[in-house]
């Protein structure tokens, strides 16, 4: 089956035969047989039917045979290669190029050559597709390839720092990315201090990142959609997979239960404590952490017109810093889908989604024992329909309703604790959407995609809305009245249209120009006073003071695809305007703060940039080079100086890393060995600098000024990996991967500290989360 997806080159040498020649004219069929990376194969056999003629290649992999006019089936065989079948119509002399694939590499070869990351002829722009096979080749950290780490090497994406699984897209914050797992939104995709994400790479199908030209089908976040699909169980036979790496163990099984029902189950657990014990720092050594997660999928093929699928996911995480605080969180995700084919032109999907994120911070210090519980309960129902009956049109439309139910914080003291119990009102709201998107082909050159999305958000009680005195900075003490809303009562609503438009103009068969315009809206935000998503952050719905985040974006792009799909090149330039962006007052209190809005600052953002991607998809060497130059600014000009940052002038946002370079290469050393490398470079993140040091009550402090006026040193890192595929026996497939993360021991600064050590003048220090090369080995068996 997969073989049919093989890429084939055909070069036709036309010899114009005069018309009216005798019927049984003879022609020469000749050709060259090569391996996938171009090596000419000697002694390859061609079986030609009808006639059962056999011909072998000679030196230089050439063959030639004279046949009568007709249609022939050629089956090409070579030791260790997958047989290749090909039909040829012989009505002139013909020279063909045949490419065979190593048996063991069959899957990888297919995946890497058949899935370009973009499509020159569609109206899509700003989206990238990566499947599991490609991900598996990227160098791993501690033996695990990771979706979010790989996303960070795409153009327009920067990572939030080592040890965080947040990423920033085109100048937006981490919470502006909708991270999906089989349609269910994920509110904390971190595992283990952020070194891993919740996606088990063994059962991943693919991911697609949309960062511009987002179809009207998608919404709810303003910067990007990371749509991650997990594999379905196969319908052929039971398959098992076992994986081991230094700190994780994985086990998965999938296959048919009945001819109509397939199942997939995957489990993964991590045991990092013994690695942590090896660190020199007491803080790390005395820390501990764990995570485990599981995927469960069912697919039921009722009949030709109906199928049902269920995808479930559960994960539990915990870590403990020394002394007195532990953190635990769980993600429970579920998606139930019904795909229905009304007729050949009309199909639809009904989806029920549930995402439950629960977080517990526990303090165990005497006198301050507490449990602080927070979380989100998200439920959604949506219908997506597609009508393809109109010539040259693809109509997509749908609607959805979602309920957000956030527990901002429930402080439960126990033991000798002097704390009072404190429970904040649940933060509840409904989001309704409807969309219509029409993609149509005007002519050979011009295609359009026009979409409109409408979203309506209603925040409901129970709630207390504080009214603040005008003219003074908002604070707990400037509250002059409180409005109370009972459970279910409408507190606030927002709504708006989100137009989406993109157009493609083909310059020729190989290249096109595209333009995309979009508006996106978001009614939920992450309140986090740190640079990354951490377990102490709070998700908050829009309210009277926190208006929905809105982004307008215009993107122009040039797309080129080599005729043989050997190379692809894209160049996109974008400009974004962001409204209702948040920043924080100095010393803002986030947890259990009823007047949280008073500690926040509101303003606007602006981002622009240019992204280039050159990708080579065929041959012995594959990979990509991605380069981007982008800027991202915020402007916070409040009514009072306390509510203004940098005097109201635009300042670089936390996500402003102008230059980004990412080079990923994958090279077939031998049929069994591949080598891959991944290099990343980015300008350092902006930080608040210090203009002087001072002595205060006997301690040395730094005088910070302004916000984000300095930068961390540049970030760069090279990872490599060697992958070895054992000779495939009848049933077992084994892979070994040896990788080194941060090969040249770069101490990339995660942050800077202005500190004073005795014996040294006060100065700036950098903190590197990873300062050494991290080697790892992982081993996978499929059977």
């Amino acid at each position: 089956m997969l073989l049919q997806k093989l890429f084939l080159f055909l070069l036709f040498l036309f010899v114009l035969a005069p018309k009216g020649q005798a019927q049984q004219q003879q022609y020469t069929l000749s050709g060259t047989v090569r391996s996938a990376w171009g090596e000419r194969l000697e002694e390859a056999y061609m079986v030609i039917n009808p006639g059962n003629k056999i011909v072998a290649t000679g030196e230089k992999g050439r063959f030639s045979i004279t046949l009568e006019e007709g249609t022939y089936q050629i089956i090409c065989q070579y030791v260790g290669m997958e047989p290749f079948s090909y039909e040829v119509v012989l009505n002139e002399d013909l020279d063909v190029n045949l490419e065979l694939v190593q048996r063991n590499f069959q899957l990888k070869q297919v995946e890497i050559t058949t899935q370009p990351t973009m499509d020159v002829n569609s109206t899509h722009l700003g989206s990238t597709y990566v499947d599991q096979k490609l991900l598996a080749r990227m160098p791993a950290l501690l033996g695990e390839a990771d979706v979010i780490r790989s996303v960070s090497s795409l153009p327009g994406v920067v990572n939030a720092g080592e040890g965080t699984s947040g990423f920033y897209v085109r100048g937006g914050s981490a919470d502006q990315n909708l991270i999906l797992l089989d349609d269910a939104p994920v509110f904390n995709a971190n595992h283990l201090f952020g070194f891993f994400s919740i996606y088990n790479p063994d059962v991943l199908e693919s991911y697609e990142l949309h960062r511009s030209g987002i179809s009207a089908k998608y919404g709810s976040r303003i910067s990007s959609i990371l749509d991650v699909k997990m594999q379905d169980g196969n319908f052929e036979k039971m398959r098992y997979q076992v994986g081991l790496s230094p700190i994780t163990a994985k086990l998965s099984a999938d296959g048919p239960i009945t001819p109509k029902l397939s199942m997939l189950v995957a489990l993964r657990g991590a045991y990092p404590d013994y690695v942590l014990k090896l660190f020199p720092s007491d803080n790390i050594r005395n820390s501990s952490g764990y995570f485990y997660d599981g995927n469960l999928k069912f697919k039921y093929q009722l009949n030709e017109k109906n199928n049902f699928s269920f995808s479930g996911y559960y994960s539990a995480d915990g870590f403990k810093f020394p002394y007195d605080t532990t953190y635990h969180w769980t993600n429970t995700l579920g998606t139930l889908k019904w795909n229905h084919l009304f007729n050949n032109d009309f199909a639809g999907t009904l989806t029920l989604v549930k995402s439950l994120y629960q977080n517990t911070v526990e303090g165990i210090a005497t006198g301050e024992e507490f449990k602080l519980k927070s979380g989100i309960d998200y439920a959604q129902v949506k219908a997506d329909l597609g009508y393809y009956g109109l010539d040259q049109h693809e109509l997509e439309f749908g609607t959805s309703a979602a309920l957000y139910d956030i527990q901002p914080g429930d402080l439960i003291p126990y033991g000798t604790s002097s704390l009072n119990r404190r429970t904040q009102d649940r933060d509840k709201g409904y989001e309704y959407t409807a969309y219509l998107n029409d993609s149509f082909v005007l002519n050979e050159k011009l295609s359009l995609s026009i979409g409109l999305r409408y979203s309506f958000f209603r925040k409901v009680g129970p709630a207390e809305v504080y009214l603040y005195a005008e003219g003074v900075p908002r604070s707990e003490t400037s509250v002059y009245d409180t409005l109370r809303y009972s459970s279910g009562e409408a507190v606030q609503h927002y709504q708006g249209l989100e137009p989406r438009f993109s157009v493609k103009y083909s310059l020729n068969a190989k290249s096109s120009l595209k333009l995309g315009l979009s508006r996106t809206r978001q009614y939920i935000q992450l309140i986090s006073n740190t640079a990354a998503i951490t377990p102490v952050d709070v998700w908050k719905l829009s309210n009277k003071y926190m208006e929905p985040q809105v982004a307008d974006q215009v993107t122009v792009g040039y797309f080129y695809m080599h005729p043989e799909r050997r190379y692809e090149f894209t160049w996109e330039v974008y400009y974004r305007k962001l409204y209702n962006q948040l920043d924080y007052k100095d010393g803002a209190v986030i947890l259990l703060n009823p007047t949280l809005e008073a500690d926040l600052l509101y303003g606007e953002g602006e981002a622009y940039g240019s992204e280039w991607l050159l990708k080579k998809s065929k041959g012995r060497l594959t990979g990509w080079l991605s380069l981007s130059y982008s800027r991202s600014f915020r402007t916070i000009a409040g009514n009072t100086p306390e509510e203004t940052i940098n005097n109201g002038a635009p300042y670089p946002s936390n996500y402003d890393k102008p230059v980004n370079i990412s080079i990923f290469t994958n090279y077939h050393l031998t049929p069994k060995w591949t080598f891959s490398s991944n290099f990343n470079y980015s300008t350092g993140r902006p930080i608040t600098g210090s203009d002087s040091w001072f002595n205060y009550h006997g301690n040395i402090f730094a005088n910070y000024y302004g916000r984000n006026q300095e930068r961390l040193p540049d970030y760069h890192r090279l990872d490599i990996s060697f992958n070895y595929t054992f000779r495939k026996s009848e049933r077992v497939e084994k892979n070994l991967s040896i990788s080194v993360y941060n090969l040249y021991f770069r101490k990339n600064a995660y942050s800077t500290l202005f500190q004073h050590y005795f014996g040294a003048p006060p100065m700036a220090y950098r903190l590197a989360v990873i300062g050494v090369a991290i080697p790892s080995v992982s081993y996978n068996i499929k059977f």
Binding site: G367, A531, G759, G771
Partner: protein, 346 residues
């Protein structure tokens, strides 16, 4: 073989050095006035004036020629006099009165500075002070790396008055008795050194130390409750508890502005550079240049009433471990803040 390879791999992980100095372009380096000002209902009031310094300049710079005084709405006028190193003290009997509102004034050359008005609030008494044995990483004067040392953690209990919004801050003074060995002194700075150079004096001193603890607390989550086990301070056995140590804990009743200021100080001091750190921010105090409010002045005038409690620890009463003798083969007056003056009633 695998085992050895594995060990090697793990060793690579062990390589230390996650915090390193980095160079910053230091073009916009500035000097700002720094004001430490504490005015209380006890005899611990002082003002210290200094300047923040560029990173290329590693020494303290004090302001020694300022005119410093405090006024109150009740008509009080309290002048402060320069003693040494930018330290200004009032007359011995000057005290803050609970309920009064005070303002600090500074005249430095042509520039006039003033603080915002600060009202002195009723202090909340400390119910008890007690200790617990612990091993804590502490920075020792003169050592670059922190060292893990055994000692006592100090805790307070207090009862928060219900129905009022209260903010707390703490400071500590200690008087430490030390015995040293001047007769074992070895001279390292002479020709033919090192050689023994016994000193005649002195072997018995008292070290007077004062520490502002950058720990603040509010009663947002514990209004009206008895608050126990508030950890404030750590005293290592070595040196500080080898004879006798009298520790006085002061509990300040501070304003919301003071709380916000010291909270940022506390955050800065606890910065470790990890994901859990809030972004650093400028310390915005309550002192300003009267003619030019845009000038940044670092510091806070904290007029607060305090309650205090003393605790005395004798080496012989330490049960948790056998504390060895403090070895310091020199004149004890060489220790920072040490004198041979015996405190009253010791």
């Amino acid at each position: 073989m695998w085992r050895r390879l594995w060990t090697l791999l793990l060793l690579m992980l062990l390589l230390p050095g996650c915090v390193d100095p980095i160079e910053f372009e230091q073009e916009d380096q500035q000097e700002h006035l720094v004001v430490e000002a504490t005015f209380s209902n006890l005899d611990s009031s002082y003002v210290r004036l200094s300047y923040s310094q560029p990173y290329r300049y590693p020494f303290n710079k004090f302001e020694e020629n300022a005119t410093v005084y405090i006024t109150s709405e009740a008509g009080e006028y309290i002048p402060f006099y320069h003693t040494q190193s930018g330290l200004y003290k009032p007359e011995a009997e000057a005290r803050a009165q609970i309920g009064h509102t005070y303002q600090l004034h500074l005249q430095i050359g042509p520039n006039s500075y003033a603080s915002k008005q600060v009202k002195v609030l009723e202090p909340v008494p400390i119910d008890s002070v007690y200790t617990e044995f612990a091993e804590v990483e502490v920075g020792i004067w003169g050592a670059r790396e922190k060292a893990l040392m055994p000692g006592y953690k100090f805790f307070v209990d207090y009862t928060d008055p219900g129905g009022l919004i209260n903010f707390y801050r703490w400071s500590v003074t200690s008087v430490i008795e030390v015995y040293t060995q001047p007769w074992d002194y070895i001279d390292y700075s002479c020709i033919g050194c090192p050689r023994p150079a016994p000193k005649d004096c002195c072997a018995h001193c008292w070290i007077y130390e004062r520490a502002q603890l950058y720990k603040v607390q509010n009663d947002r989550l514990s209004d009206g409750r008895k608050t126990i086990h508030q950890e404030l301070h750590f005293v290592p056995f070595e040196r500080d508890l080898q004879a006798k140590n009298k520790i006085t804990i002061y509990q300040h009743a501070i304003s919301e502005e003071a709380y916000n200021f010291f909270k940022v100080v506390e955050q800065q001091q606890q910065r470790t550079g990890t994901v859990f750190d809030p972004p650093p921010s400028q310390l915005k105090g309550n002192i300003y240049n009267v003619e030019n409010e845009d000038e940044q002045v670092i510091g806070f005038f904290d007029a607060s009433a305090v309650s205090k409690k003393e605790i005395i620890i004798n080496r012989k009463n330490i049960k948790e471990m056998n504390v060895g003798e403090y070895v310091y083969p020199d004149d004890c007056r060489e220790i920072r803040n040490a004198t041979t003056r015996k405190p009253e009633g010791w």
